[in-house]
Symmetry: C2
Subunit: 97 residues, 2 copies
């Protein structure tokens, strides 16, 4: 299986209570039940203050690369990512587990 | 519980088959059985080529903030992180799950 991890950094000047950030977090929270390929789905704001801490994270699990692609191209995921693109950047890693 | 996620980026010019990187990955692979506070422990090289992809990731789960602190300050973790500091940088996020 593939664990798909994403760490988000809010753009300079954007805070967690920004309306766009709230809408983005809500959109991600709903993805777990919308996309059948997601075997596991956790997403939430970071809770630790450290210089190297990013602001928000997704931990997801899919069966294989085909399922990962189905998730990435799913309209609900594309819409949620589109929201985040307005106020954040992110990095990813996909690991075999 | 707290999910502690870490994404690592190899320094410019360092590759996955660098001896230091191999030793660093081995050290992390062993942590899961060495540190009792780790409820879940996955670590591996990233498998996706994308501009936003980091090179290596850790997905771990601990009971609470005290357990997270015990993990972070554990000598085996400190030693492994010390290895990685020589050839990589990383970002983290801790989310409540």
């Amino acid at each position: 299986m593939i664990r798909h991890l994403v760490l988000f950094k809010l753009n300079e000047g954007v805070t967690k209570d920004d309306e766009r950030a709230l809408a983005g977090a809500k959109a991600f929270a709903e993805l777990g039940s919308l996309i059948p390929e997601l075997r596991e789905w956790e997403c939430a704001w970071n809770t630790t203050e450290r210089d190297i801490a990013y602001d928000y994270a997704i931990n997801s699990l899919v069966e294989d690369r085909e399922a990962l692609q189905a998730y990435l191209t799913h309209p609900a995921h594309q819409a949620a990512a589109g929201l985040w693109r307005e106020f954040a950047t992110w990095v990813i890693a996909d690991i075999e587990v």
